[in-house]
C-alpha cells in the first residue's frame, strides 16, 4: 500500500528532486569566457531537422537561433554557450544561484513556478524552438507522450506553446551518460561550438577519472543520496536517478538496499530510519531536511554519517559535460575526505 504515499507525497517530491537541477557551483568555469550569442558556432544554413528523445521530429527551414528553455535545460545550454531568449523555471529564475555565473540581462523570464508560462511574453520572444525535459514514469523508461512534458501545467498549455514554436524534450532518466549525450547533441544541433564541447568533454572525462581514483583510494565509502522531511527518509535508487547511475559506473558505492520494487526511491518512516543507516556519507537534497533537522529526529540522531559530520547538502547538476565535471569534482573531494564509519 505504498501507492497513496507515492503519488501524494513522493511523486511531487521525486519530480522536485529529480528536476531541481544544478549545483550552486555548477556550470560557470568552462563557459564563462565564451561569447553567448544565440547562434554562436556553426550556424548551418539550409533546412534543419532534429528528432528528440520522444521520437518527435522537428523540421524547420533553418537552424533555430531563438531558443526558449525550461530552467534545467537552459542551464545546460548556457554552459554550452547558447543563451536562450527566454526561460521558464520551477523557482525564481533571477535569484536562482544556479544562474549566478550567467548574464541573463537580455533574457525574458516567462515564469517562476512550475507550470507558469506567460504565453504573451513567449509569443513576443518569437522562439524558433522550445526545449524542456521529460521524465520516464517507470524503470523501463516509459515516456508518457500523451501527458505534458516537464514544466508544462498540462496538455492544453503545452498545445498552446506548440502553436508558438515546436517543443523538443530531453529524456531525464535511464543512463546518466545518455542524458548528458542527448543534452549535448541538442546543444550541438542548436549551434554550440564543437571545439568548446570537445574541451568540456575532456574535462568531464578527467573529472570522471578523478572520481574513480577517489573511490579506489578510499574504498568502503558508501554514499546515501536522499531526501528527508517530516514523513521520513526517501533514499534514491541508484539505477533510477541518472546522476547516481552515472557516478556508480565510476565506482561510487551508493546505498541501494532494494534495487527492485517501487520506482526511483525507497521510503522509510522515521520509525524505520534505522534500516537505511548504512551510508558513510549522506547527500541530503537541498529541498528537504539538512544536518540540523536530521539531528533533531530522535530515531536518526545516532546515524553514523550524521555523527561523523559527513552530511552534505546536495543538488542535482545540469546534464552538460561541464556541470557534471564540477559535480563529480565536488563528490570526489567528499569521498576522498570521508571516514569509513560504518
Amino acid at each position: 500500500m505504498t501507492a497513496p504515499t507515492f503519488t501524494r507525497r513522493a511523486l511531487p517530491a521525486l519530480v522536485a528532486l529529480a528536476l531541481s537541477a544544478p549545483a550552486l557551483t555548477a556550470c560557470g568555469a568552462m563557459s564563462s569566457g565564451e561569447t553567448s550569442s544565440a547562434a554562436s558556432g556553426s550556424a548551418a544554413s539550409g533546412p534543419w531537422s532534429y528528432t528528440d528523445d520522444t521520437g518527435t521530429t522537428i523540421d524547420l527551414d533553418a537552424q533555430p537561433t531563438r531558443v526558449v528553455a525550461f530552467a534545467d535545460q537552459a542551464l545546460a545550454l548556457l554552459s554550452y554557450g547558447i543563451t536562450p531568449v527566454a526561460i521558464f523555471g520551477r523557482t525564481q529564475v533571477k535569484t536562482d544561484p544556479r544562474f549566478a555565473d550567467y548574464d541573463l540581462s537580455g533574457v525574458e523570464i516567462l515564469g517562476n513556478t512550475y507550470g507558469e508560462i506567460d504565453l504573451e511574453k513567449l509569443a513576443a520572444a518569437a522562439p524558433d524552438i522550445v526545449v524542456t525535459g521529460i521524465y520516464p514514469s517507470d524503470r523501463k523508461g516509459t515516456l508518457d507522450t500523451d501527458g505534458p512534458y516537464y514544466g508544462f501545467s498540462g496538455v492544453s498549455q503545452q498545445k498552446q506553446v506548440e502553436k508558438i514554436a515546436p517543443v523538443a524534450a530531453i529524456e531525464i532518466g535511464g543512463k546518466g551518460i545518455d542524458v548528458v549525450e542527448s543534452t549535448t547533441s541538442l546543444a550541438l544541433a542548436l549551434g554550440a561550438d564543437e571545439d568548446e564541447v570537445a574541451e568540456d568533454k575532456k574535462s568531464f572525462e578527467a573529472a570522471a577519472a578523478d572520481l574513480r581514483s577517489a573511490t579506489e583510494a578510499n574504498p568502503g565509502i558508501e554514499v546515501t543520496m536522499m531526501y528527508a522531511d517530516a514523513d521520513g527518509v526517501y533514499v534514491v535508487k541508484t539505477a533510477d536517478e541518472p546522476e547516481s547511475q552515472l557516478y556508480s559506473t565510476y565506482g561510487v558505492d551508493y546505498t541501494d538496499l532494494h534495487p527492485k520494487g517501487a520506482y526511483y526511491w525507497d521510503i522509510y518512516s522515521w520509525e524505520n530510519a534505522a534500516e537505511m543507516m548504512t551510508g558513510d556519507v549522506i547527500l541530503a537534497n537541498v529541498e528537504g531536511y539538512q544536518a540540523d533537522d536530521l539531528a533533531d529526529q530522535p530515531t536518526f540522531a545516532d546515524d553514523p554519517a550524521l555523527v561523523a559530520g559527513q552530511v552534505y547538502s546536495w543538488n542535482g547538476a545540469a546534464m552538460d559535460y561541464a556541470s557534471q565535471a564540477t559535480q563529480m569534482t565536488t563528490l570526489a573531494k567528499i569521498i576522498s575526505e570521508a571516514k569509513d564509519v560504518v
Partner: protein, 353 residues
C-alpha cells in the same frame, strides 16, 4: 434551523435560566464511559502500533529504557505523536463544536474564520522576512497570525453591523481566508526555494515532530478551552436563533467575542503544533452530537474527546498501511473523514444544531 426540543423560555425577561438544551440521545454516562475508553484505547494503540512492527514487549522495554534503540522509536516518535494527536485533536474538535454553534452552520470548521489562513500567512512571512525556522518561533508566528486574522474577520463583520446573524461572520471569514491564502501563495510562489521550513510545517502531519514548544501551546489551548466552557450557555441560547437569544438577555457581542476567542486560541494552538489539519474540526462535533445530543455542556467535551480519538486513530491507520513508510494523517483523514461524513449525512437527520 430546527431545534431538537422546543425552547422553554424562563418566565420573565432578563438574564434568565437558559432554555433546556437538546436532550442527550444516549445515556450521558454511557457516552462518557465510551469516550473515555476510546481515548484510552487509541492512546494505547498509538504507543503500541507503528510502521516499525515492534512487539508489545519491545514497546514496554522501550518505554522503560529510553536510551535503547526501541526507546528512541517509542520516546522519539510514538510518544510525541500520541501527545500531539490527543492535544491537537481535542483542540480542533472543541474549536469545531464552538464554531458550528456560533455560526449555526453544520459545515463550519475552524478554518472558516480565517484562523488557519492567518496562521499560515504569518508563518510564511516570518520564514520569508526574518528567516525564522525554530519550532517555538513558528508557534508564536502561527498564534499571532491566527489572532490577527480573527480580529480582522470580527472587525469586518462588526463594521457591517453584522454580529446578529452568523452569515456576515462566515462571509467575512471566507473573504479574509481567500485574501490571506492569496497572499500566502504569492509569497510561496515568489520564492519557493527559501521556504523549506514553511513547507515542512504546512504538511499537517504528526510525524517527525518533537514536543519542543508544547508548553506555550498547552497554555494557549487551556485558555481557549476555558473560554469555550464560558461560552457554553451562550451557545445553547444562540441555537435558538439570535433574536430569541437576545430576547433571553444574551449579549451578542460578549457571546461572539468569547466564542471567537475560544475558536482562535484552540485552533492556533493546534495549527501551531502540527500545521493545518482539516476535517477533524468538521466531523468531530457531528460524531459527538450523535453520542450526546446537542446540548453544549456535553457536546463540547465530547467533541474534544472525539476529535482526539479521530485524529490519533487516523494517524495510527496511516502508520500501518504504508509498508516501511507511512501515509500522512492528512491523507487518511481526508479519505476516512470523507467517508464517515458522507455516512452521517446519508443517515439523514443530521443532528440539529
Amino acid at each position: 434551523m430546527p431545534v431538537t426540543s422546543p425552547p422553554r423560555p424562563a418566565p420573565g425577561a432578563g438574564v434568565a435560566e437558559p432554555p433546556r438544551p437538546g436532550r442527550p440521545r444516549r445515556g450521558g454516562r454511557r457516552a462518557t464511559l465510551a469516550l473515555t475508553c476510546a481515548v484510552l484505547l487509541v492512546t494505547a494503540a498509538s504507543l503500541a502500533l507503528g510502521s516499525n512492527h515492534l512487539g508489545l514487549g519491545q514497546v514496554v522495554t522501550g518505554l522503560l529504557h529510553p536510551a535503547e534503540d526501541t526507546g528512541a522509536i517509542v520516546w522519539g516518535s510514538r510518544v510525541p505523536r500520541t501527545v500531539l494527536g490527543l492535544l491537537v485533536g481535542a483542540c480542533l474538535g472543541l474549536a469545531g463544536a464552538v464554531m458550528q454553534g456560533q455560526t449555526r452552520n453544520p459545515l463550519a470548521d475552524p478554518g472558516i474564520f480565517g484562523v488557519s489562513a492567518g496562521a499560515s500567512l504569518a508563518v510564511v512571512v516570518g520564514v520569508y522576512v526574518a528567516d525564522l525556522t525554530s519550532v517555538l518561533a513558528l508557534l508564536w508566528l502561527a498564534f499571532t497570525g491566527a489572532v490577527l486574522a480573527t480580529l480582522l474577520v470580527f472587525g469586518v463583520a462588526a463594521l457591517g453591523k453584522g454580529l446578529a446573524s452568523p452569515v456576515p461572520l462566515a462571509l467575512a471569514g471566507t473573504a479574509v481566508t481567500a485574501l490571506l491564502g492569496a497572499l500566502t501563495s504569492f509569497l510561496v510562489l515568489t520564492d519557493e526555494s527559501t521556504l523549506a521550513a514553511y513547507r515542512v510545517w504546512v504538511v499537517g502531519s504528526l510525524s517527525g515532530r518533537t514536543l519542543e514548544g508544547i508548553w506555550p501551546a498547552v497554555a494557549i489551548a487551556c485558555v481557549g478551552a476555558a473560554l469555550a466552557a464560558a461560552n457554553t450557555r451562550s451557545l445553547d441560547t444562540l441555537a435558538l436563533g439570535t433574536e430569541l437569544a437576545q430576547g433571553l438577555g444574551e449579549s451578542l457581542l460578549r457571546a461572539r467575542l468569547v466564542g471567537l476567542g475560544a475558536i482562535t486560541l484552540l485552533t492556533a494552538a493546534g495549527v501551531a503544533l502540527t500545521g493545518p489539519i482539516g476535517f477533524v474540526g468538521l466531523t468531530a462535533p457531528h460524531l459527538a452530537r450523535r453520542l450526546v445530543g446537542s446540548g453544549h455542556a456535553r457536546l463540547l467535551p465530547a467533541s474534544a474527546a472525539v476529535g482526539a480519538v479521530v485524529l490519533l486513530a487516523c494517524d495510527v491507520v496511516g502508520r500501518l498501511i504504508g509498508g516501511q513508510s507511512e501515509v500522512s494523517v492528512g491523507v487518511v483523514l481526508s479519505v476516512l473523514g470523507g467517508v464517515v461524513f458522507v455516512a452521517i449525512v446519508r443517515r439523514g437527520r443530521m443532528a440539529a444544531l
